[in-house]
């Protein structure tokens, strides 16, 4: 038994330790040095990199933006995905086509999405061109105005990732035995009553898992922001995320020691959020099923 567990879990554990645990400790080590990445780190600076990060307004702005993106993603994508999944769970004409159309953006690479939207949303780009043709006189700075940019980013994120949420919800819905809704219908329940009192409660575990994945995705968000706003101006436009801040002030500034310190702080924030979610939200579903508590 022990040998079997070792054989099955061993490779995964080795990869996890080598590529996740070890880098965390390496980053922890480099975070105490002023190190530009050339040769060994020798200039020990103690907690200076941590102090620099925690007293930097741009860092806290990036934390705020990340938090905002996480919350807004849940608020926008959750209800929309559930509604779309309920719709697509019906037998209707063109269902496969609609499913494909909703899922396609999720499959397209972030680089393509980023470049495409950044071209279309320029001040002199296609979107404003279309609006002008429709009679809108005003030129909207979709990606450069700090008041608008975060909402533009939310729109792109929602468009890009809604397909994944819908597929998860659909899978969840299809796992619910049909007999339940049939029985309810025979007892006289309306369509909405069935969705509200049978489907939704049974879909809750799926929703919770999706929300967890969405939270993790929000905390890791980097590529779309980096591609659309480039190396320098996301902070100015109000769309910088924690990962973007780390790349900008670590690698781009050539201060890898500082970047490592930022990575550790971001790691701690993500760990707290993940453990908190698992402890207070996810655990209630798995209690009894996966644990020995009951």
């Amino acid at each position: 038994m022990g040998l079997e567990i070792g054989l099955l879990a061993g490779p995964a554990i080795i990869v996890f330790v080598l590529f996740v645990i070890v880098p965390v400790f390496v980053a922890l080590y480099y975070g105490f040095f002023s190190w530009k990445g050339y040769g060994p780190a020798t200039d020990f600076v103690g907690l200076a990199n941590y102090k620099w990060t925690l007293t930097n307004k741009d860092f806290w702005d990036s934390v705020l933006h990340t938090g905002l993106i996480a919350v807004l993603s849940l608020l926008f994508q959750g209800p929309l995905a559930i509604l779309l999944a309920l719709l697509l769970n019906q037998k209707m004409r063109g269902r496969s086509l609609i499913r494909v159309l909703i899922f396609v953006p999720y499959v397209i690479s972030e680089a393509i999405v980023g470049i495409g939207f950044s071209l279309m949303l320029q001040d002199a780009g296609a979107v404003n061109g279309l609006l002008h043709k429709l009679g809108v006189d005003q030129t909207i700075s979709w990606i450069s105005s700090p008041k608008v940019a975060i909402w533009t980013l939310m729109f792109i994120i929602t468009w890009k990732y809604i397909g994944f949420a819908v597929i998860l919800m659909l899978a969840g819905l299809q796992g619910i035995p049909e007999e339940l809704s049939e029985a309810a219908a025979i007892d006289g329940a309306s369509y909405w009553q069935i969705q509200r009192h049978i489907m939704l409660p049974l879909l809750t575990p799926t929703i919770k898992i999706w929300a967890f994945l969405s939270l993790i995705g929000s905390m890791q968000l980097f590529d779309l922001v980096y591609i659309i706003w480039g190396q320098y101006i996301a902070a100015t436009a109000g769309t910088s995320t924690m990962a973007y801040f780390m790349a900008q002030n670590g690698r781009l500034s050539g201060q890898l020691g500082r970047g490592s310190a930022i990575a550790i702080i971001v790691f701690i924030i993500s760990l707290i959020v993940s453990l908190g979610y698992q402890r207070f939200v996810l655990n209630r579903d798995t209690e009894g099923a996966l644990t020995d508590k009951k």
Partner: protein, 443 residues
């Protein structure tokens, strides 16, 4: 023309630029007896050598130039194989840094000099070529040109092009707007902006997405507002920005910004990528001016439909500011050059010396549309805007290295970012000044 190339000015000021990093004079009379020179090959059959080479010449002309240079070089040194790779300019520094961390540094690579190079040297990544630069090269260049590639009294890079800066403009669009004389001071620049706007033309294109093009406006205003002594002290490493000229320059940028002279959406416009970039707008007559270095004609040539430099492209020097302490003829410039990695084969040095020869220097100036570092090759400069730039360079009382290059990556980025925030209306003049001061102090 060629004999009067102002290497003395480069020497005087870029040398001072480097003096904060190191003693700045190029050693004299130290030509090594085994300097490879042009014909210094061993007669014994040499072992096969393979080298990797990274440059930023992504345009058709520069790609063709490097193919030809490598072909000519390997014809002369048949045992050598060089694998070139063109890396987009904005991606270059990050990619090179990552390669150095991963110990996959290319044998030959583009070198910008200044604080950025000093960091690489400190990390033991660059070959000291002090004693192997051929005597012929040293004579053709003049010692001053090497100053930007000198740190700790040693030379680490071979200059290839000088890139002084001015305002490039479209003569056709100026004519269309009824502008008869090029601006010489800020008042006439503002007047030109008004006329262009009235004619429905975007006055100045700005690629603020890449930050440095925006910051160059601040560099230039500082050069005009501050005295030579103050600028020299700054370049030499002084972090004291208490002289009021530094803040005046921020105010100048803010005042110019208030006239809204830029292309629409300048904040998300990149500098050189595609027809929608700031360079692309000027190249295709969608904007009429751009503040840029000597690489501009070459970049523009890659962004037009016919792949030619616009025929009406001309240049005027950065305008004077009223009451400025700086000399109105002073210029800001950078250098393009090439370095060998620390443990590169001898053939790398041979390649650098080969690059410095007159035919290769002339080809470089033509392919990149820039000014050659070698005095021998200035005859290759024929493009009208570059000829004006060359004249300005020859008449400049002093020349200063880009602030971000001399400050190094971290502080340079901080400074550039502060100016972008000012232009975006995210910071006031005082906040911008504070951000610049804090970035400079972090060096």
């Amino acid at each position: 023309m060629r004999s009067s190339l102002k290497t003395v000015a480069v020497s005087a000021v870029i040398a001072m630029a480097m003096s904060g990093l190191a003693a700045c004079s190029t050693p004299t009379g130290t030509e090594s007896s085994n300097a490879p020179g042009t014909d210094a090959q061993s007669t014994a059959a040499p072992a096969a050598v393979t080298m990797t080479f990274w440059h930023n010449g992504t345009g058709d002309k520069s790609l063709a130039y490097w193919d030809q240079v490598i072909k000519d070089f390997t014809a002369k040194y048949p045992n050598v194989t060089i694998t070139p790779q063109a890396v987009q300019n904005e991606d270059f520094d990050g990619k090179l840094q990552a390669a150095m961390q991963a110990n996959t540094t290319p044998d030959i690579f583009l070198q910008r000099g200044g604080g950025k190079m000093a960091d690489m040297v400190k990390g033991g990544q660059v070959m000291d070529i002090t004693d192997v630069v051929s005597a012929a090269t040293k004579t053709a260049y003049g010692e001053g040109v090497f100053a930007a590639y000198t740190t700790g009294g040693k030379i680490y890079g071979m200059p290839a092009a000088l890139t002084p800066e001015g305002i490039f403009y479209s003569k056709d669009l100026f004519d269309q707007a009824g502008i008869t004389a090029t601006p010489t001071d800020i008042a006439s620049l503002n007047a030109a902006v008004d006329k262009l706007k009235a004619a429905g033309i975007a006055p100045i294109s700005l690629g603020a997405k890449d930050a440095w093009p925006a910051a160059h406006w601040y560099y230039q205003f500082s050069l005009r507002e501050c005295s030579q002594a103050v600028v020299d002290a700054f370049i030499a490493g002084s972090t004291d920005l208490s002289d009021p000229c530094w803040k005046k320059a921020v105010q100048d940028v803010a005042d110019l910004n208030a006239t809204n002279p830029w292309n629409q959406g300048f904040l998300t416009t990149s500098a050189q990528t595609g027809a929608g970039s700031s360079a692309g707008l000027l190249a295709n007559h969608q904007a009429s001016m751009e503040l840029m270095g000597a690489w501009e004609p070459g970049v523009l040539g890659g962004l037009t439909e016919d792949q030619e430099i616009p025929a009406d492209l001309q240049l005027f020097p950065f305008p004077a500011v009223a009451g400025g302490q700086g000399d109105p003829s002073a210029m800001m410039a950078g250098l393009d050059g090439y370095s060998c990695k620390k443990d590169a084969p001898q053939a790398c040095v041979d390649f650098l010396n080969f690059l410095a020869e007159k035919p290769q220097q002339e080809g470089y100036a033509t392919a990149y549309g820039s000014l050659p570092a070698s005095k021998d090759a200035t005859g290759a400069v024929t493009e009208p805007s570059l000829k004006s730039l060359l004249t300005g360079f020859q008449n400049a009382k002093y020349v200063v290295l880009w602030f971000d290059t001399s400050l190094g990556q971290d502080a340079g980025n901080g400074l550039n970012q502060a100016i972008v925030n000012l232009l975006a209306g995210q910071m006031t003049v005082d906040q911008t000044m504070a951000a610049i001061q804090s970035a400079v102090k972090s060096v």
